[in-house]
Symmetry: C2
DNA sequence: TTATTATTTGACCAACTGGTAAAAGAGACG
DNA sequence: CGTCTCTTTTACCAGTTGGTCAAATAATAA
């Protein structure tokens, strides 16, 4: 029933979402203004509101898009694969997302820090369910003796935190490593941490 | 030269800082309003401005206070102590700070995510210097064979991220562990991660 | 007590906030 | 060409923002 989008609509909606991502990820929802976003998008404020009915609508569209990409790699962990390699694959993918999509990460971080007013339900619903499934898989690996004993939830927390840190706290990382690209060393460190934590052959 | 503070001043300044911490840590600087803070502090807005000259002044006072407590434990790492235990002591202290002062952690996280407009200088100055000193110590431990080879900077990043995660992403942690207190298991996991990463006797 | 100082309040301001209405301007299509 | 829809702009609004000011009120000291 929804009409096909014109090329102008496609272009402007994309520009607005890109601008919204930039602004929201830096200032959070309440700290961002429609003026900020519309200026960044190269549109007038009423023109922006012609494409999105409200500030809220832009924010929600961004989060919805983000959550998909967020959950997908988690579900891709293969219970039949090699345990350490599966976990490492996920962790490295997450690190690469921090490297290449830091604003998405910061948008998410802002939302969570502020109490997840928009996506709290998703966290307590779908995310929790996915993590519960993963916990079963990890616990299976543990009881089969294929990885060392580990708390599945906190393993996930440590992967999330160590990887997202490079996006969310980018300015702090930069303050310390200077102009060095931190990601190669970060990946090596992440791999070391997880291999030593999980490998049964110590 | 500065006059002694009256008890009313002490009380109201403390109330304002407590209110500012609560509000700023939830909404970030730009997302917070003087009305929020003054209401939270139980004062009228002009009355609040009688004690702090501007919104900025409250925020800066909070950050200054915070940065002291932030850097102190880092300097307390003893080059002459047992390497693994020294690092673990620091990590556990950091975790306990997340547990008992989550709002301070979120205030800091908000500031960093938003590009550290206020404390960028401190990060590139004092923080960087402290981390450089620590790196020398850690590299010494490595070359003495007392801990396994590790990148000092990224070791610190992983400790910061894994510990602060429980404060900054509290709502996400809660969504997954439910009403369980996450901190005992978090401490165990943190200790496992670091011991297995660092201990030469694997 | 009174004089002095410290504190609090209410009224106010200019700039900015998210959002609206109507009309002008562009594009697409027959 | 003309018509019709899509897009953009101009002008506007009520509520909120950080902050000021003078006057009123409480503490305190002599």
């Amino acid at each position: 029933m929804n009409k096909p989008e014109t090329r102008i609509q496609k272009k402007n909606q994309a520009a607005i979402l890109a601008a919204g991502l930039k602004v929201f990820s830096q200032f959070g929802f309440r700290g961002s203004t429609l003026d900020n976003i519309s200026t960044e998008a190269g549109l007038s404020k009423p023109n922006l509101l012609y494409y999105f009915s409200s500030k809220d609508a832009i924010y929600k569209a961004l989060l919805a898009q983000l959550l998909e990409n967020w959950l997908e790699p988690l579900k891709a962990i293969d219970p039949n694969g090699d345990p350490v390699e599966e976990i490492l694959k996920y962790a490295k993918l997450k690190l690469r997302m921090s490297q290449h999509f830091p604003r998405e990460s910061r948008l998410f971080a802002n939302e969570i820090i502020q109490g997840a007013p928009q996506i709290g339900d998703v966290l307590r619903g779908e995310l929790r369910a996915v993590i519960e499934d993963l916990a079963i898989v990890v616990n299976g690996w543990v009881s089969e003796g294929r990885i060392r004993r580990v708390d599945p939830n906190h393993l996930v927390f440590s992967i999330w935190s160590m990887t997202q840190h490079y996006a969310d706290f980018e300015v702090q990382v930069e303050a310390i490593v200077g102009s060095t690209d931190p990601f190669p060393a970060a990946e090596q460190h992440l791999e070391d941490m997880l291999r030593r934590m999980l490998s049964v052959t110590g």
